[in-house]
């Protein structure tokens, strides 16, 4: 579902991403771990087609992202760190709009089903987004992905700033989507959450994918050790 071949991005003389080779299959959750500036967000932006790669290529559902920017967006949903919706519109109205512009014609009752599935309390459906917490907004984001029937989900530090309960709920939602066959790529700093939800974990540093791990093969302590070893290298270099 998600494939990158030697995907690179340079800004002037600075390498933001260096020959990234990655594959996330249907029903997999791939967590990209790394410090700030490791290249996680650049990877997501390249997969979204927001920026042009300096070299290499990215594929969503077997379509080259940069050759088919519109077509690839049909298959993907994106939830940024701080999902912003229209504050004067309700959850239902936001969902209706965002699914509508993605070309989906969904009845009001189905929209409620998606919000419900995303874990939003029914009494919040018609409340304005301006009254929502970040966790509630993220749930609307998941509902947008559900309504869009996205095959690929790109998440950029979605649990950052969420309380443990909301973060846990979000993890459960990702598991639900995984069971539906969605391929998820999540950039995060949260090792614990990554271990909880991921099927695969990659550790990035300075634009390079340093390690790739199968989540079920390691414990949280091992993951932490691997992460710190990679980061320590950076600390020593400094």
């Amino acid at each position: 579902m998600i494939i990158t071949n030697n995907l690179s991005k340079n800004y002037g003389g600075q390498t933001a991403l260096d020959s990234l080779n990655l594959s996330v299959k249907t029903g997999e959750i791939y967590c990209l771990l790394g410090a700030n500036g490791a290249g996680k967000t650049t990877t997501i932006n390249l997969l979204l087609g927001f920026i042009e790669p300096s070299s290499g290529s990215a594929f969503i559902n077997q379509l080259n992202v940069h050759e088919n920017p519109k077509a690839t967006k049909r298959f993907l949903a994106y939830i940024p760190e701080n999902l912003m919706l229209y504050p004067s519109l309700s959850a239902l109205e936001n969902l209706d709009y965002f699914s509508g512009i993605a070309g989906k014609k969904i009845s009001a009752s189905d929209l409620e089903v998606f919000l419900n599935e995303a874990g939003l309390q029914p009494e919040a459906f018609n409340k304005r987004i301006s009254t929502f917490s970040k966790g509630m907004r993220q749930k609307v984001g998941i509902a947008i992905a559900l309504a869009k029937e996205a095959k690929v989900l790109l998440l950029d530090e979605p649990t950052s700033g969420l309380d443990p309960k909301a973060s846990n709920e979000f993890g459960l939602l990702l598991q639900k989507l995984r069971n539906k066959g969605v391929a998820t790529l999540m950039a995060t700093h949260d090792l614990f959450r990554a271990k909880e939800v991921a099927t695969h974990i990659g550790i990035m540093k300075d634009g390079n994918l340093k390690q790739q791990l199968v989540a079920s093969d390691i414990t949280l302590q091992e993951l932490e050790k691997a992460y710190l070893q990679t980061m320590e290298y950076k600390a020593l270099a400094l």
């Binding site: 912003m84 709009y97 965002f98 947008i144």
Partner: protein, 468 residues
């Protein structure tokens, strides 16, 4: 996607307090201005009817009188207030409402509304054209300055782009949401004006087609402003900057450009001063026959020519009163002199208009204003047309009076009195303003400029939206 975006934008606008307040303020201002204008229109036309009837009654009931005395006594040509002046008062306030028609002189229109006003008039009047030309574009800015920038500022742009939004459909949705309230307000104003005018049957000939054309002109103006405001919002990063740039455009387009155009036009093609004009007219008048001066060189030459033409030795042998004949020849000479000098003024006016039209490319306000005033019959061109019609009537009246004098009396018979019933046979002055077709053909360049503004601003909007 267009309808979804349109609905979303409309909901957002309706839920914003500033928009609701601005909407109510604009509607109130429009209501008050239409009410004031309607009252004024009704009042002026009542005065027009009363003055016209009274003046004609005075003319008709002069009793027995020498026709040339009647010519000096004179009469008035009253300019009617046209129905669409309710929407655009144009230069009516400054152009004068009546022209005194007398022997030997072409007078300018007098009794303008501006001369009756106090110094407070400097603040301007609350008229529908003020709301239409200045306030509604400001309202468009208020509604639309953050149309695109808010997406950046709120962070929704990223999510929109990830949904694979089509930029032009998105833009059209926003465009429709911004334009619809403007369209509704304008349509409401014109509908109210239409029904008000339709109800005032005794006051001028009201034409729905002219009103509709005027409506289309303003709609075109608002389309340009909507495009400009949206393209500024699409190109800028922050709402504050977008607002400032939009307001600068409004100031340049609606305030600075018209004044600059006016100054440039007047500097390039100035009118003579009133004194210069009067002196030039007097100089030329002296070079021809003066009806009241039988001893002038020109009068003597005329005498010789007429005696030769009729093969007689004495003016007494002529079959008409030579005094009246000379008077008519004097009138004809004076009319020619006035025609020449007024044509020069008109020529300067045409050149100024050309400059205005040339400068109309720098502001959509200019072609809109010209079209609006022309269609409403409140521009200088209509005023010139009225003044020319009044002058034609004055010349014809003088001939009518002098012919009666010449045909019914003998040379030196200044005691001749026309019959009391004679005055009624003078046709009543009627003036028909230019038809809509003629106005539109005369303003074709303004229509083209407005169309250019629409096309270019829309093209740029599409281009800029693609780069968001």
């Amino acid at each position: 996607m267009i309808s979804k975006t349109f609905l979303k934008e409309t909901k957002e606008l309706l839920r914003e307090g500033r928009v609701r307040i601005a909407f109510v303020v604009v509607i109130l201002l429009l209501g008050v201005s239409v009410w004031i204008s309607a009252r004024q229109y009704e009042n002026v036309n009542q005065q027009y009817e009363i003055a016209k009837t009274a003046e004609r009654a005075i003319w008709d009931n002069q009793g027995e009188k020498n026709p040339h005395s009647a010519a000096h006594y004179g009469t008035y040509a009253f300019k009617p207030k046209y129905p669409l002046s309710l929407v655009d008062q144009g230069v009516d306030k400054y152009a004068g409402s009546s022209i005194f028609l007398e022997a030997h002189n072409r007078n300018e229109a007098q009794f303008s509304a501006a001369t009756d006003q106090t110094g407070l008039a400097r603040f301007g009047d609350l008229t529908p054209d003020f709301i239409l030309l200045f306030i509604i574009p400001l309202f468009i800015i208020l509604l639309g300055y953050n149309s695109f920038t808010k997406e950046r500022e709120m962070g929704t742009l990223t999510l929109l782009k990830s949904q694979g939004i089509s930029s032009w459909k998105w833009m059209l949705g926003k465009w429709a949401a911004l334009f619809l309230p403007i369209f509704c307000i304008t349509a409401l104003l014109f509908l109210i004006a239409g029904f008000l005018l339709n109800g005032l049957e005794n006051f001028g000939v009201f034409s729905w087609s002219s009103l509709f054309t005027l409506f289309l002109v303003y709609i075109a103006y608002y389309i340009v402003f909507t495009n400009l405001v949206l393209l500024i919002s699409a190109k800028t990063k922050k709402s504050g900057i977008s607002l400032v740039i939009s307001l600068c455009v409004w100031i340049i387009a609606c305030l600075a450009a018209p004044k600059a155009a006016s100054n440039i036009a007047e500097t390039k093609h100035p009118y003579p001063t009133r004194q210069e004009f009067a002196a030039n007219v007097l100089k030329d008048r002296r070079e021809g026959v003066d009806g009241h001066n039988p001893w002038s060189k020109e009068a003597k030459l005329l005498e010789v020519r007429v005696l030769q033409e009729y093969g007689v030795d004495s003016l007494h042998q002529l079959p008409f009163n030579f005094d009246a004949y000379r008077m008519q020849k004097g009138e004809e000479h004076e009319a020619e002199v006035y025609l020449k000098h007024y044509n020069h003024l008109k020529n300067q006016y045409s050149k100024q208009t050309q400059v205005y039209r040339g400068l109309a490319a720098i502001s959509p306000y200019l072609p809109t204003r010209f079209l609006s005033m022309s269609i409403a019959h409140t521009d200088y061109a209509t005023h010139w047309d009225f003044a020319d019609a009044a002058e034609d009537y004055r010349v014809a009246t003088q001939k009518f009076l002098n012919d009666n004098f010449a045909e019914n009396s003998n040379y030196g018979d200044w005691g001749y009195r026309a019959d009391a019933s004679f005055w009624k046979s003078l046709p009543i002055f009627e003036y028909d303003p230019p038809e809509l077709d003629f106005i539109l053909s005369e303003n074709f360049s303004n229509i083209l400029i407005l169309a250019f503004w629409i096309a270019s601003s829309f093209g740029l909007l599409i281009l800029f939206t693609k780069t968001i």
